[in-house]
Amino acid sequence: MQIFINGKLKQLDGENMTISALVLTLNLTGKRLAVEKNGEIVPRSLFLETKLLNGDKLEIIGAVGGG
């Protein structure tokens, strides 16, 4: 399955991967982050049950230094 993560095309093994599984795959477990899927925010409480579909566009964001 192919999805876009932060503007980049990413190839993932298997179908119907959840956001929780993706976070694990990307080595982001435990990081404070927020996710938007196809323009809609996915609350952290729904990561376990939210499945990804081919072509989905994800934004994964965090806090960085800024003024």
Partner: protein, 260 residues
């Protein structure tokens, strides 16, 4: 001094708000913020680096949200839609946190704010339940409109972001302060401790800065200087300055009892 800055119902003893960008590393960021005494720190919202190694430290580990009030910003946004989207993500990121800094830029060269987009975004965010601290130009009419929309603080620039040019229009700031019933904070353009003191002497409720501290030769020493300047400026404002006159013909020493 038992005197607090109240923003969105919460009291802060420090009137200095600082950014977290442009530092050498997170350790320096933390040391400078400690020296500044700031309780509110701004952060930017950006895409996570997916290739990042798992153990890489993050800003939040150096500045735990339990110790500081985070002020997520919309730096780099050029439209109301982008700013609103960014802050909704920030709210999710920070567990429903409502206090935000709205800034919508109009021009990548000068980073001058686009007040039309800023007003549009402020309306949406206030309606959506955010406590909006809003960065704007030093236009008193726009500042008042942002207050009427329901922003919890208005933050006019002293001069352009990162310019270090200091306070270019103290008269406009004075009008904004006089008209406002919400806190007025100078945001952007402060170059040195003297500028910060002048802002406070004008009657500002606080000052937000980043570059003046982070790009000083010694950021930690400058952070301490800024803390003192903010406190000195505030007390100077509260104490009430003497009136200016061209001359007084009244020396400070007695005119009687002169020898001979």
């Amino acid at each position: 001094m038992n005197e607090h800055l109240i923003i969105a119902g919460k009291a802060y003893h420090s009137r200095l708000l600082v950014g977290t960008g442009k530092y050498k590393d997170f350790a320096e960021t933390r040391a400078a913020i400690d020296a500044s005494g700031a309780q509110i720190v701004t952060v930017a919202i950006r895409r996570i680096n997916i290739g990042q190694t798992a153990g890489e430290p993050s800003l939040l580990e150096y500045l735990p949200p339990e110790e500081f009030t985070y002020l997520p910003n919309t730096a780099g946004c050029y439209s109301a839609d982008d700013a609103v989207r960014t802050l909704r993500l920030a709210r999710e990121l920070l567990d429903g946190h409502k206090l935000v800094k709205l800034e919508v830029l109009g021009d990548p060269k000068t980073l001058y704010p686009n007040v039309i987009e800023t007003i549009a975004a402020a309306k949406v965010l206030v309606k959506d339940g955010f406590d909006v601290m809003v960065y704007t130009s030093d236009d008193p009419i726009i500042a008042k409109q942002l207050e009427e929309i329901g922003c919890c603080a208005v933050m006019p620039l002293a001069s352009l972001i990162g310019s270090g040019m200091g306070i270019l229009n103290p008269w406009n700031l004075q009008i904004i302060i006089e008209n406002a019933t919400i806190p007025v904070l100078v945001d952007a353009g402060i170059g040195c401790a003297g500028d910060a003191a002048i802002a406070m002497e004008l009657g500002c409720d606080g000052v937000l800065m980043n570059t003046a501290i982070a790009t000083a030769r010694d950021p930690i020493m400058m952070a301490g200087a800024m803390k003192k300047a903010i406190e000195a400026g505030r007390e100077s404002f509260l104490a009430g300055r003497m009136p200016k006159k061209l001359y007084s013909a009244r020396p400070s020493s007695p005119t009687s009892g002169m020898i001979g």
